[in-house]
Every structure is written in C-alpha cells, then in structure tokens.
C-alpha cells in the first residue's frame, strides 16, 4: 500500500516534470534574459560601472540618481518633457486616424485589399531604411522631395528636420505614416463583430452614427485598451526612429527622448548612469500602465466576464 502510494506520487512528479519541460525554454529565457538583467541593472545603478571595464564597479549609493536630477537635471527634464510631449501628441492622433481608416476599410468592397496593402506598406520599412529615406525626403533644402512638392503648390520651402523649431513636428508627422499597424488590428476587431448586431440595428432603423457609437466603438474597447497601453509603452521608448536619422544637429537635438539619452550614456561608457536612467523610465512606464489598468472599467470583454 505504502509502496503503491509512493509510486503514484513519483508518477505525479514525473508527469509534472514532463509537462513543465515544454515551457522550460521560456522560463530559462525570462530568468536569464529578462529578470537577471533587470535586477543587475538596478544593482549597476547604485555603483560606478563602465562598459569598458569588466565586473561591477564600486558602490556609490544613490549618487547616480542624484546626478541625474543634479548635474544632468536640465537635460534629463528636457528629455522627459520631450518624450511626454511626443506621446501626448502622437498617440491620440495615431489612434483616431488609424481607427478612421479601419472604419473605411473594414467593409469588403472592390479594391479594399489594395488599399489595406498600401496603407500598411510604410510599416514594412526597416528602421534604418526609414531613417535614410526621411532624412533625404524631409530635410530643409529646396531640393528635398517634400519641399519640391510644396513648391509645386506654390508654398515656401519648410525647414522640416533641419531646424530646431520644426524638427519635432516633422518627427510626429513622419510617425503617422506607420498608423497601418494599428489599422490592421482595428480591422480584425471590427470584422469580428457579429453581423446579427448590425442586422438588429438596421431593423431598428439606426443610422451610421448610432451604429458607430453604440456598436462598433463599444465592441472595440478591448482593442482600444490594447492599442492605448502598447502605444504608451512604445512611444515612451522611442529610439530607433531617431538615431537612424541623418539630419542637422540643431534638429536632432530636439529629438532628445529618454532612450536616446540612455544610449548616449551607454555609448560614453557610463553604464551605471544609463542603468539609473533606464530604471527611472521603467518606474514612469509602470506607474502610467498601472493607472491605465486601474481606469479600464470602460473596456467591454464580452458577456462572460
């Protein structure tokens, strides 16, 4: 009897191991490539560590954080300000425009696929290609493509990326070319709304706006929430699109987002300050995400929840 129980227990453990083995890769992956660096990053942020020297440097307490908001304060607040400004301006425009496009393209009509492909095309541009392309199309010279187009409409040349006054605006404008990625998600969500809902609405004689505000938008709230939270997280980490631009320094200085600043510290071998700033960013993202999750009562997850 006792023996039977032990073998039964043994079998249970073996059963668990053989199941767990399937998810082992991701467990190892998170332990090695996510948690270890997260924790060591926190560790480095309390030391004086350089990328060029092996191992962890001497412990300096909160010195790096004091530096961030002391010696570097002006630059850091500037970066935080630009990053927030970018997020606050670009994210709502992106969400609204991509949703509007999706409303146009969710119904099947002749040529709809071609339009979807065309709007999604700029999303396919690799970061480096997009950087090279926009540096050439949107610089301030009279011969840049955008200025040639402006001239054709009789407008004066615009400085675009080459002036500290217009670079930020240009960057937001160029970012709008990638709304196709959210658009595709909206289309999928809108197409998943059961036809019966629209049929009922038709019977009731609802007009387009009633359908939009009473059916389509409420049914899309999970996707609004997803796009919103991922949009916040991604815009706060904007980096590749900036560093791949080959533009006048005056313009590039306006695009001094937080991650660009982190990379600058890293590049100048100052690993510990880079880690400290990345933890500041992490806390900012965590707080904003938590707030967004807290106020998600408006999200409709279907009947069963």
């Amino acid at each position: 009897m006792d023996k039977n129980m032990r073998t039964a227990q043994k079998r249970k453990i073996l059963e668990w191991i053989s199941s767990f083995a399937f998810v082992l890769p991701v467990v190892i992956g998170i332990a090695v490539f996510t948690l270890t660096p997260m924790i060591s990053s926190l560790g480095y942020s309390f030391t004086r560590t350089y990328t060029t020297v092996a191992g962890m440097g001497e412990f300096v307490g909160l010195k790096n954080y004091e530096n961030l908001f002391g010696v570097y304060a002006e630059q850091i607040w500037d970066s935080i300000g630009s990053t927030f400004l970018f997020t606050v301006i670009s994210l709502p425009i992106t969400l609204v425009l991509s949703f509007a496009l999706a409303l146009f393209l969710a119904k099947d009509f002749k040529g709809v696929k071609v339009f979807r492909v065309v709007y999604y095309l700029p999303v396919m541009l690799p970061a480096v290609v997009s950087g090279i392309l926009w540096s050439s199309l949107a610089n301030g010279s009279d011969t840049s493509a955008l200025n040639v187009v402006l001239a054709a409409f009789g407008a004066k040349p615009f400085a675009f990326y080459d002036s500290e006054k217009t670079a930020f605006f240009t960057f937001i404008l160029m970012g709008l070319f990638t709304i196709g990625s959210s658009m595709i998600l909206w289309i999928a969500q809108i197409k998943a709304i059961p036809d019966s809902m629209f049929e009922v609405a038709d019977l009731e004689g609802a007009n387009y706006f009633v359908r939009l505000f009473k059916i389509i938008i409420p049914m899309c709230t999970p996707m609004i929430f997803y796009n919103l939270i991922m949009g916040i997280i991604n815009s706060l980490q904007i980096f590749s699109n900036v560093i791949t631009l080959n533009i006048e320094p005056a313009g590039k200085e306006q695009l001094n987002f937080i991650v660009v600043r982190i990379y600058d510290f890293y590049n100048s071998t100052d690993l510990s300050t880079a880690c400290a700033l990345s933890w500041v960013l992490f806390v900012i993202i965590a707080v904003i995400s938590a707030l967004t999750f807290k106020f998600n009562k408006w999200v409709y997850y279907g009947e069963e929840v």
Binding site: G29, Y119, L121, A145, I262, S278
Partner: protein, 280 residues
C-alpha cells in the same frame, strides 16, 4: 428608388476619393525611395521627383562586396531565428495551451507581464553579461534569446490558436498511447501551420529589421547585419556620405525582401493579426 441608388453611388465615390488621396500620401515615400534609386547624380542634385532618365548606375556603387557580406550575415541570422523562435515558442505555447500542470497560469502571466517591461532596461545590463561570457562581437546575442521562448507575443498568439484545437483530438491520441511530444509533433503542430507561418514570417522580418541589438553588442564590421552596415555607412559616418541615389539604391535592395514577403504572405499576416485581435 432612384435617389437611394444615386445617394449610394455618391457615397461610394466619396469613399474612393478619400481613400485614393490617402493612398497617394502613403505611397509617396516608398515610391520616391525607389525612384531616387534610379536617378542620375544630376537629378538628385536638382531635386527631381521623377528621374529624367532611368539609370541603374547607383546600384553597383551601393551594392559592393561589403553590402553582400552584410546581406549574407542578415540572411543567416534571420533563418536561424526563424527556426529557433518558431520551434521554441510553439513548444512553450503547447505547454500553456494543452498541458495541465501546477503553476501553469502563474508562469503564463509572468510571460505576458514581460511585455510591459521596457527592453532598454534589459539591453544595457545584458551588455555586461554578454561581455563576461565573451558573447560581445559574436552573433550569439542575436540568436540565443530567440531559442529561449521566442518572445511573449509569439507564445501568446500560438497559445490562442492552439486553444482552438479541441481537447478531444489530443485525448484520443493519448488513449492510443501517444506521449505529449508526439501529440505536439503529429497532431497539434500540423493544425497550427497558419499561425506558425505567421510567427516564422514575423521573426524573419524582425531579424531583418533589427537594429538595436547589433548596435549595442557588435562592433566588428565583418559581423554587422544589413541594418547596422547601412547605419554606419549612410547615417553615422564621419567621412563623406554618398549621394541620395546610392543611399536609396542600398535601401531599395534591403526593402525588396520585405515587400516581396509581404505581398506573397499578406493573408498569413492578416490572419495572424486577427488571431490575437479576435480571441485576445
């Protein structure tokens, strides 16, 4: 009757006009990229939008032996990742979708939570880890993480898809004496080909476009991928940067595989997105 019909026609016309205007705007950068690649130096200098003569003169200047070398590197890394990410994310997804074990939900929620972590927080300290293990200036940082789970998004999508496969199918195989791995290999995976195709496509493209990882961990010119090679040639180059037609020629060739894959696998792509959207 007549008015309803004409009203509809007007509505349709407005829709097409709006969509066409947007289409022109969205196509402009990509078309201009390709057109500029076929321009002469004079056309570039004068700021022409359309080449006065089509010439391929810029291509040999852009696509030299260095370019081919980086292209080869990118292809190798891309293919390895495509296999690694698909294999590893499908194994994990199978564990989360079809096997029942204690702690499953906890592990899965941790996996999803990693989506919210800013990648820069990991990438900077990882430099030290890779440096300590002698991985900097090798391809290991670009390859090994893919084999370890293949990313939370991919696991999530695969799991969503696998949940759609009825448990009874797996149970039947179990009764017939198939073990868990055999069920994964012979029953679940063949039914998951659409989503596996999507994950493969996205992981290849992700690798093709990856810029941040090589930027942080690779200094050796012979190990660059195409992104990094073009970056040091046309963006961050202390010497003189070649004219726009050469830049655009290099960019066009890099963009070509993305566009070809996109056109051929559009359906796979859009279906893959819907899996996450509709069932998420």
């Amino acid at each position: 009757m007549q008015t309803i019909k004409s009203k509809r026609a007007v509505g349709l016309a407005i829709r097409y006009v709006v969509l066409l205007i947007f289409a022109v705007i969205f196509l402009f950068p990509v078309v201009e990229l390709i057109l500029k690649a076929f321009m002469t130096d004079e056309d570039i200098a004068s700021g022409a939008l359309f080449p006065s003569v089509f010439t391929v003169a810029a291509f040999p200047k852009a696509i030299d032996s260095g370019y081919f070398w980086w292209l080869k590197n990118t292809l190798i890394i891309g293919v390895i990742n495509m296999v690694g990410i698909t294999l590893s994310s499908s194994l994990c997804a199978y564990g989360f979708a079809k096997l029942k074990f204690k702690g499953r939900e906890l592990v899965f929620s941790i996996v999803i939570a990693t989506l919210m972590l800013p990648s820069i927080c990991m990438q900077i300290p990882l430099y030290k880890l890779y440096f300590g293990m002698g991985w900097t200036n090798t391809w290991l940082p670009l390859i090994i993480p893919g084999f370890c789970g293949g990313g939370a998004i991919n696991i999530f999508l695969m799991r969503q898809y696998m949940k759609g496969i009825p448990d009874s199918v797996c149970e039947a195989a179990k009764v017939d004496g198939a073990n868990k791995f055999l069920i994964y290999l012979v029953i679940v995976m063949p039914m998951c080909l659409p989503i596996a195709g999507y994950v493969m496509l996205m992981s290849f493209l992700g690798c093709w476009n990856d810029f941040m990882t090589p930027l942080l961990y690779i200094n050796e010119q012979s190990l660059y991928n195409l992104s990094l090679g073009l970056y040091y040639r046309y963006v961050n180059n202390a010497g003189s940067i070649p004219p726009a037609n050469v830049q655009m020629a290099a960019a066009t060739v890099m963009l070509l595989p993305c566009i070809i894959l996109f056109f051929f696998f559009q359906k796979v792509l859009i279906n893959g997105v819907s899996v996450g959207a509709v069932k998420g």
